[in-house]
């Protein structure tokens, strides 16, 4: 076998494998899995720009209770939303597991305080299902779809709908 052919033979399966992987990735959706109280939820990964450790949030009077206040992120001021209030769950004190997810959708950007971030996963789109009618009324308006993660039932929240309910 000539050298060129040998090289081609060695790289083509690799390239084909890469292409297959890309195709598979196209069929996957990245999710940021998090907890609010005992419930597990997710955001679409592309809506989340970064995840920050909890830091003190400066309260801004005159805003609705769904806005906790503001933080400084490398010189930029970001608002932080109280997801507990938005989805009508009892408030919890922030802990060392709390995180602030910086989300952006439809030109609106804000932090969202989460009780914990469990994982960032890539799941096949075929594992994402339409929402169900038995969802908690407090959350129903913000849920686009559902999935499962480690045998847990996960509601995927729409960042744009969360923002719209405040603005």
């Amino acid at each position: 076998m000539e050298q060129t052919e040998k090289i081609l033979n060695s790289i083509i399966p690799e390239k084909q494998s890469d292409q297959l992987n890309e195709m598979e990735n196209d069929q996957k959706t990245e999710l940021v899995i998090f907890k609010i109280g005992s419930m597990t939820h997710a955001f679409i990964g592309s809506d989340i720009k970064e995840i920050l450790p909890y830091e003190t949030i400066a309260f801004v009077p005159g805003c609705p209770e769904t806005i906790l206040g503001i933080i400084n992120v490398r010189g930029n001021i970001e608002s932080v939303l109280n997801l507990h209030k938005i989805i009508k769950k009892s408030d919890l004190m922030p802990t060392r597991r709390s995180r602030i997810a910086i989300a952006e959708r439809d030109g609106i950007r804000s932090g969202i305080l989460l009780d914990s971030v469990e994982d960032v996963v890539s799941i096949p789109r075929s594992n994402i299902y339409n929402t169900i009618s038995t969802l908690d009324p407090g959350i129903r308006g913000f849920v686009d779809s559902i999935t499962t993660y480690k045998d847990l039932y996960v509601t995927i929240l729409n960042v744009g709908k969360l923002f719209k309910t405040i603005a």
Binding site: A58, P61, G62, I70, N72, L81
Partner: protein, 129 residues
């Protein structure tokens, strides 16, 4: 305008910065004698979402622009500072959209916290007054 004079006061651990150009005069609530002046506590028009708000040393901040004398009661001013306009950070969209009449319009960092800039004229244009 390169700088503005800001009067800093504190309410429930929130530092508020009032534009000096909007203030006619300041005096203690206990010294109030003008019964024709309309007075309002700041927490009545700028919600702090607390069961009760305590005023350590309430002062009346009489505003400049009204024919009828109008005063807002806030805790006593702590200091006056002159800040360069370029040091003022605009507030995020959701704060601008939701804060009463856009009355909190900017922020300045000080000692790892913020002074929130309050436009008192915008604030009293609310229907609640």
């Amino acid at each position: 305008m390169d700088t503005i004079d800001i009067l800093v006061t504190k309410m429930s651990s929130v530092k508020l910065g009032l534009n000096m150009s909007q203030i006619e005069r300041i005096y203690r609530l206990s010294e109030e004698k003008n019964t024709s002046a309309k007075l309002i506590y700041i927490h009545k028009i700028l919600p702090f979402h607390q069961d009760s708000i305590s005023y350590k040393s309430p002062h009346i901040f009489m505003l400049k622009t009204f024919e009828t004398p109008f005063g807002i009661i806030i805790d006593e001013p702590q200091k006056m500072i002159n800040i360069p306009v370029k040091e003022i950070s605009p507030l995020p969209y959701l704060i601008k959209q939701t804060c009463v009449n856009g009355s909190i319009w900017g922020a300045v960092e000080e000692d790892s916290t913020f002074i929130l800039l309050l436009d008192v004229i915008r604030l009293i244009k609310t229907d609640q007054v």
